[in-house]
């Protein structure tokens, strides 16, 4: 069953996560288009579960990130920090030749990955 609710803005992933946490397998997901949110509930969803879904939508804050979105933000920040802090080969000058060669390879890989991400 579909429930349509008018909503000005939505963080679809965060709302989806909240609904799944509350309703489990009784919801297959949500869709959004032209200011209308559609809740895709299973026909077996009870009236209590439907009311619960509506209540979650009513208190939905699009600015609040889901756990997955927070992880993505942290990963992005980490990438930015590492981009400006590349591996320094000088720190390996006193190491054995094999270790220095390994460090050089890692530094090369780091630059290749950064280049791919540009």
């Amino acid at each position: 069953m579909n429930i349509n609710i008018e909503l000005k803005s939505v963080n679809l992933e965060a709302l989806d996560a909240d609904l799944r946490a509350a309703l489990g397998a009784k919801i297959s997901g949500v869709s959004y288009q032209r200011g209308v949110l559609t809740l895709h509930l299973l026909d077996s969803a009870s009236e209590v579960e439907q009311a619960s879904a509506r209540a979650i939508v009513a208190t939905h804050d699009p600015a609040r990130l889901s756990t997955g979105q927070q992880a993505q933000v942290r990963l992005k920040q980490s990438r930015l920090e590492n981009r400006d802090n590349p591996l320094s080969l000088d720190a390996f000058n006193s190491q054995l030749p094999l270790i220095r060669a390994l460090a050089a390879k890692i530094a090369w890989l780091e630059q290749e990955i950064l280049d791919l991400r540009r």
């Binding site: 579909n2 679809l12 992933e13 989806d16 297959s28 997901g29 949500v30 869709s31 959004y32 288009q33 032209r34 200011g35 559609t38 895709h40 997955g68």
Partner: protein, 176 residues
């Protein structure tokens, strides 16, 4: 006004051909063959389409959008869709199917699927074609349905999105 198809007459010697016969058998039937039943939607929406649904759901159940009705004369139809989709997470798979008169054309995982579409606009282009035969004459309604396995799937809809202002299209045509 759409052209009308009239089953061809078997002409017999001595039969007096009337203007009505000629208009129906030649003019109207030729016009029909030149312009068979066709219906079309080109997305130019205020926002793109998005879903997190892991079960197939209507892309847009509004009549005249990804929900088209065609009146056929018993010939096969070609159902087509083209658009660009974008993912939000990885791994993420997006599947499409078409529901015709309440029954899915392909079933299972649908007509086509995309594994990890691009997450950079304009995303990944998707084109769907389905040839449907053995269809009785009359009114038929086709609806585009889709699902994702994770995250949010977005279908661009000409909504002004930067680098993604792309107009997806859904159309059905009877072919004789």
């Amino acid at each position: 006004m759409p052209a009308i198809w009239t089953p061809p007459i078997t002409w017999n010697p001595g039969y007096l051909v009337t203007a009505g016969d000629l208009n129906a058998q030649l003019r109207d039937n030729l016009e029909f063959l030149k312009t068979p039943p066709f219906t079309n939607f080109i997305a130019n929406e205020s926002s793109d389409y998005t879903t997190t649904s892991t079960a197939f759901v209507y892309t847009d159940n509004t009549a005249g959008k990804f929900n088209l009705t065609i009146v056929t004369y018993g010939g096969p139809i070609l159902v087509c869709f083209s658009g660009n989709i974008i993912r939000s997470t990885s791994p993420q798979r997006v599947y499409f199917d078409v529901e015709l008169d309440g029954i899915r054309l392909a079933g299972d995982d649908g007509i086509l699927g995309v594994g990890d579409p691009s997450n950079i606009s304009p995303g990944t282009p998707v084109t769907l074609l389905w040839w449907k035969t053995d269809l009785a004459a009359g009114s038929h309604t086709a609806k585009l349905i889709w699902r994702t396995t994770a995250g949010t799937a977005t279908l661009y809809a000409g909504a002004g999105t930067t680098n993604g202002d792309l107009h997806s299209q859904f159309w059905i045509k009877e072919l004789s």
